[in-house]
């Protein structure tokens, strides 16, 4: 690194160009426009502009840290240069858009976009503004880089929280509206659209202060807890678990109808994620057709309980149909498992994808219409009952999903630490060695497929009764991709990872409705970036975390993603 510390302009320019391309793409994808109506700080900055600023800031920051500069002047130079290069690409976009009818090709290159990017100042002043903006963001990233580590962390953390609170205004206000005492606080913090200026500053200062203090005292408090006698430690743990359960039980009351619906979806995907996690995360078998089991569960319940299909109802109880749904899904899982047992990983992916598509085409075809309802689907599916209570609305379904998730999490945890779980992981690491150690590959793989499919079937059964109807269109490939993304981003093989992944990938897009349009671009990019930089996921599985920490302690980490990938995944 030292040899490079001469004023090296090439790297900041290169990274600045990449940042600029990202910024232009964000603009042409329509993200800035879509998010421009949502203010983070009311009347000061919208989320659309924030996206642009974050891109400029992040690319300059990366340019600085990659250049390895340490003297203030050089840091400032690298940051400012990279920021200006990025923003000059944006200026190029503005000028091109001014002279060429880009809108004919790029649907989002509208006058509204230009107005947003030039702050309604026309192309001349606007592009000048843009350059200054790049300079300012580059310089401020340099300043942040020069701050001492602890201050920097607190400041960035507080800033992130301000952005999050601004974006999630609806969630915060709805949640707090159940507690009357909080009303004045909320009134102070929020304007009608986004945070109020005073509120934003208050939050920033308060959180930065607290997190700075915590970073000094946090370890002390932690070790204080560790020094407590074991009995009170256990008591502390149980209390926090009980509080957690109480909050989980009260959530629908606090959140109201719409947010309960969101939670239901999160629960649904969590169930599927936990199922796919067994197949992909534990056993290392990449399954791209997981939606098939979901569809099978849903259709089994539909066919068994719906009076629509012109024959006598087989049963009108959801609970009676449920075991059948799970059994049929398991059967399908095992049947799919048998032929693909000897297949290589990548063939497995494509065969399971094909299997998912076959199921979808079959249920939608006229061929099986008399049994499965064809493209019109199955209607009037039974709702579950618990004693005298009929579960109909989202808040009631929430408890069903909560129960399902807790049960499935319990099973996952127990299985993971069992002999079977260890066999799966051994198989994931190296099939040949696992076999040599006496693991029966056939039985182990089939159990993974079967158990994974059973969770999918359960999710499907719940989905069918929640909607009351099933259509073939609900079971497309995107569901599989969604589930796969959430377990990979959460952390393959990690059960808390699935929970985090489901909240982030299913919960967030529903709270930010403008985001729905971009979710697959973002998921795709997130998968690639995740694999390149952090293949173990957001909440890594303990085993991999330990490996990673050992690797960091050795301190031989060469820069660059590939080395990290090799090391964390245990390859030579």
């Amino acid at each position: 690194m030292k040899a490079k510390s001469n004023v090296d302009a090439l790297l900041p320019i290169k990274i600045g160009l990449i940042g600029g391309i990202v910024a232009v793409s964000i603009a042409l994808e329509g993200m800035i426009q879509a998010f421009s109506t949502r203010d983070i700080v009311s009347g000061v900055i919208s989320m659309g502009h924030m996206l642009l600023l974050i891109t400029l800031f992040a690319s300059s920051y990366i340019a600085i840290s990659r250049s390895g500069a340490s003297q203030p002047a050089r840091v400032l130079f690298a940051g400012a240069l990279s920021g200006v290069v990025s923003s000059s690409l944006m200026a190029v976009l503005l000028w091109t858009g001014n002279f060429l009818p880009l809108g004919g090709m790029f649907v989002n290159a509208t006058s509204q976009l230009y107005a947003l990017l030039t702050f309604k100042q026309g192309v001349m002043t606007g592009s000048l503004f843009m350059l200054i903006l790049g300079l300012v963001m580059g310089a401020s990233s340099a300043l942040v880089y020069l701050l001492p580590g602890r201050v920097r962390q607190s400041a960035l953390g507080a800033l992130a929280l301000v952005v999050a609170l601004g974006v999630l205004q609806e969630l915060v206000t709805v949640t707090s509206s159940t507690f009357d005492a909080l009303t004045p606080v909320i009134k102070f913090l929020y304007a009608t659209n986004g945070l109020s200026t005073a509120g934003a500053i208050t939050i920033f200062v308060a959180i930065a202060g607290i997190s700075y203090l915590w970073s000094q005292r946090g370890t002390q408090i932690q070790s204080g807890i560790n020094r407590l006698p074991p009995t009170s430690q256990r008591a502390l743990r149980w209390t926090s678990i009980l509080v957690g359960i109480a909050i989980l039980l009260l959530l629908p009351k606090i959140l109201g109808l719409y947010l309960s619906e969101v939670l239901d979806n999160v629960g649904l995907y969590m169930l599927m994620g936990l199922g796919l996690n067994i197949v992909v995360g534990f056993a290392g078998l990449l399954d791209l057709g997981y939606v098939a089991f979901f569809a099978i569960g849903a259709y089994t319940v539909g066919v068994l309980t719906s009076p629509e299909l012109g024959r006598a109802i087989i049963t009108d109880s959801w609970w009676l149909a449920l075991p059948f749904a799970i059994a049929v899904a398991v059967l399908a899982g095992v049947l799919l498992g048998i032929p693909v047992l000897r297949m290589r990983g990548d063939y497995l992916a494509i065969v399971t994808l094909g299997f998912g598509e076959i199921i979808r085409i079959m249920v939608g075809s006229d061929f099986l219409r008399s049994i499965l309802g064809g493209s019109q689907g199955v209607l009037l599916i039974a709702k579950p009952e618990v004693g005298p209570i009929k579960i109909i609305n989202p808040p009631e379904f929430y408890y069903l999903f909560l129960g399902g998730c807790l049960l499935v999490i319990f099973i996952s945890v127990r299985v993971k630490n069992s002999r079977l779980g260890r066999a799966w992981m051994a198989m994931r690491e190296d099939e040949d060695v696992a076999q040599a150690m006496g693991i029966n590959l056939v039985a182990t793989k089939l159990l993974a497929f079967g158990l994974g499919a059973s969770f999918g079937g359960l999710a499907g059964a719940m989905f069918a009764s929640k909607l009351g109807s099933v259509y073939p269109a609900s079971f497309n490939f995107l569901v599989s991709v969604n589930v796969l993304s959430l377990i990979i981003i959460g952390g393959m093989g990690s059960i808390p990872g699935v929970v985090v992944g489901a909240l982030a990938l299913v919960g967030l897009p529903e709270l930010l409705r403008e985001f729905a349009e971009f979710r697959f671009v973002v998921y795709g990019a997130a998968l690639v970036v995740m694999m390149l930089t952090r293949p173990e996921g957001l909440v890594p599985e303990a085993r991999r975390q330990i490996e990673l920490e050992e690797f960091r302690e050795v301190g031989k980490a060469p820069p660059g993603a590939d080395a990290v990938v090799l090391k964390t995944l245990g390859q030579p």
Binding site: M105, L527, M531
Partner: protein, 338 residues
Amino acid sequence: MFLIGGSILALVIVGSAATLMGGKYSGAQWFDLVVFGVALGSIYALIALGYTMVYGILRMINFAHSEVFMSGPFTAYFLADAWGKSGFLEENPVLGLLVIFALAMTISLVVAVLLERIAYRPLRFAPRLVPLITAIGASFFLQYFFRGLYGPNIKPYPEIAVLKQYLRFGDLRIQYVQILVIVAAALMMAGLQLIVQRTRVGKAMRAVAEDKQTAALMGIDVDNIIVITFMIGGALAGAAGVLYALMFRQVSFIMGFIPGIKAFTAAVLGGIGNIPGAMVGGLFLGVIESLGPSLFLDGLGIPAPQQLKDAIAFTLLVLVLIFRPSGILGEKLAEKKA
């Protein structure tokens, strides 16, 4: 296992026999279907070449290849549309089409190379699952990125009057667009075969596919050869995309998904890593898919058999992978277990 295979085979034979006895379709109709199948199959073959070459060298499925296929013609649509409206394409169909092909092939080539550089190269030595997931992510990213750029609507490719006419031999007829597709695909495949078998670059490609380390020791720039492979695969996919757009006259961000899986099936069918295999596999799949619904599904009395056309291809894929995973012509490369 063989029970399942045997019963499927029996169903196909019974179904075909029933249709042929029934005489529902005339000879000319069968001819139409076969020609359509060959044209479709040549497109599959062109895409399959990209899968097979990359697999041969990197031992990975380039899932995003279907998006490489989509990106070229989707971008070239704007040029084709402008020329279609101004009448330029009607007056100079040859020149116009050549430029459209060149543009689409360039765009696809660039996308393929960027894909390799950004997403695949850093992960070349990672365990198999990692690049595979990256490829799936890249595929989705590209699909929805182009959707964001050009919009979600299906766009109609301009109609060229010459291509709509038929070449007739008595009862039989072939549409000119189908001739164009078949001839263009055949030319490109012949060109590829020439490059791979007769040039230094081709020799280097074969060497890298055989053994990367030894090839590097022989003075071959492996990175460079991989980039060239992606370039060739990308250009072929872009050309295939324009042919597809001319035949079906529509483009959209999702257009690559199904042809992509079909082409992968074709590559596996012919034996992955095997270049002539991909061509044979593509043609075979195209003809089966075109004839299948009318030939054996109709005979079995299944209503609306065309709906199940895609299911035939997927079932074929599953069956091939179970019974003959090395494909019709066999894998050219010794399988190295990952």
